[in-house]
């Protein structure tokens, strides 16, 4: 393995200096986002430094229970974000969506780590945590789209929905057209990312591995496997979450409960 070229703190500060260019453009164009940009860059730095310290600690311990707990914490945080961003009430939907997210991501991550990568031990933090994070991060975006589209469409087409029910459709049958559209919207970006990978963008994980000293062939094998895992988890979680959440989102008369919306 090649020696990794570290970035000095001074060089990193220099990279921060590059932000003056977008700041000048924004000021010149009257885009009122300079303050947000500085805050976002600051937040990112603090968060990542904390994560680095934390990961170093976790990697050193490499304990099954700590690693598993950290994955569960990531699932809970991702779920909080999904529920809020989809405009749904935490109190009503959180447990259902948590179950859906766990049911969709854990088997995929488990398969990826235990069957494809096979680290020793299988719960090795160096693999388990970053891979879970990548899968969850991508599921998060897809699930926000799926849930938001699904429930907003039923709310906006209430008459159409009741017509389906009055024509003899079960709840599942009445939900079918909205679920199809929601899943399509959620899955399409991941498919297009897969299709253009390597042509439009060099994926972050692959780039990171190459910079870290891995051979490009090893890096692309990881990237392909990760992309496929992300895609599987995206489809499974979006589908399962739409199904699981229906238990809390509809009344016994199969009508959408308006109480589920937070806005």
């Amino acid at each position: 393995m090649m020696q990794v070229m570290d970035i000095s703190w001074a060089a990193l500060a220099g990279v921060f200096g590059m932000l003056t260019v977008p700041a000048i453009i924004m000021l010149w164009a009257g885009v009122p986002l300079v303050r947000q940009m500085i805050l976002a860059a600051g937040r990112m730095t603090v968060q990542l430094v904390l994560v680095a310290l934390y990961l170093e600690f976790i990697f050193r311990l490499n304990n099954f229970w700590i690693n598993s707990s950290w994955v569960l914490v990531m699932i809970v945080i991702a779920n909080l974000n999904i529920t809020r961003s989809a405009g749904l009430k935490l109190r009503r939907l959180f447990p259902y969506l948590l179950a859906g997210l766990a049911a969709g991501t854990l088997p995929v991550v488990g398969f990826f780590v235990c069957i494809a990568v096979r680290p020793e031990p299988f719960y090795d933090a160096r693999y388990l945590i970053p891979i879970s994070g990548m899968v969850l991060g991508n599921c998060l975006r897809a699930n926000v789209i799926a849930l938001e589209r699904f429930y907003s469409a039923i709310r906006a087409n209430a008459k159409e929905f009741i017509t389906y029910l009055s024509l003899g459709a079960t709840l599942q049958e009445a939900c079918q057209p909205y679920m199809r559209q929601a899943l399509q919207a959620a899955i399409a970006p991941t498919i297009s990312t897969m299709a253009t990978m390597g042509l439009v963008s060099l994926p972050g994980m692959m780039t990171g591995q190459i910079l870290g000293g891995s051979s490009p062939m090893t890096a692309i094998k990881y990237q392909i496997a990760v992309m496929l895992a992300i895609f599987c988890a995206t489809v499974i979680t979006a589908f399962v979450n739409i199904h699981f959440s229906q238990r809390a989102a509809f009344t016994p008369y199969n009508l959408l409960n308006p109480e589920i919306f937070s806005r």
Partner: protein, 227 residues
């Protein structure tokens, strides 16, 4: 067949329906009339389980309307709104939509039955090949009726269903609904529709203020609409 026992529906700051009690039996041709916003459409919604009363009981065939009994009610009743939802891009697809649902698959109509129903509603057979986006409001209303007839529904819950029909189509629809075995529960101010009806319910501010079989209500309904 249908009984409302002290039905009320209240939202956070509005009383939409206020202690409504009424009974409609099989074969009745019932019509609700009254000013806009008085709660007529909400009454129809409560009938089909599209709105849930906050107080009182809806009884269907003697049984309270619950999640368990609702599928039976929805199987018996056809609901068609003022602007009917066809739910598909093609007319044939829209007409066949309910037969894609498990509950209706065994009743999938033959081509001959489809053409017969279309003819009875004065719809040309080539309409089947059109897109729903290019047909008129009146054609949409008749297609929604055709779909309910193909489903062999016997109870029709109709909200201003003749509003977009030309006189000739309206007469065809009225002729169909004169059949004594069909039950109509409707909202309308159409004089010809009212002439077909046998039960009249006047709705004002969420209450059924009068109900009768006397045709005097027909005149009152006309006056409300300035007919």
């Amino acid at each position: 067949m249908i009984r409302f026992e002290n039905i009320s529906l209240r939202t956070q700051d509005h009383l939409i329906l206020d202690s409504i009690s009424l009974e409609i039996t099989r074969g009745n041709k019932a019509v609700f009339f009254g000013p806009s916003g008085s709660g007529k459409t909400t009454i129809l919604m409560c009938l089909i389980g599209g709105a849930v009363p906050t107080a009182g009981t809806v009884l269907f065939d003697g049984e309270p309307l619950t999640a368990r009994t609702l599928p039976h009610l929805r199987k018996t009743m056809a609901f068609i709104g003022q602007e009917p939802v066809l739910g598909a891009t093609g007319v044939r697809e829209a007409l066949m939509l309910p037969f894609s649902f498990r509950a209706n698959r065994a009743r999938t109509p033959s081509e001959e039955q489809i053409r017969h129903v279309l003819k009875s509603l004065l719809l040309p057979p080539d309409i089947l090949e059109k897109q729903t986006s290019v047909i008129s409001g009146g054609e949409k209303q008749r297609l929604a009726l055709a779909r309910a007839l193909l489903l062999e529904k016997t109870v029709f819950v109709l909200d201003e269903v003749t509003s977009a029909l030309d006189p000739r189509s309206r007469r065809a629809v009225l002729t169909l609904f004169r059949q004594p075995d069909l039950t109509l529960i409707s909202v309308s101010h159409d004089p010809e529709w009212l002439a077909l009806c046998t039960r009249f319910f006047k709705v004002e501010k969420g209450r059924v203020t009068t109900q009768n079989t006397a045709p005097v209500f027909q005149e009152e309904a006309h006056e409300k609409e300035g007919i």
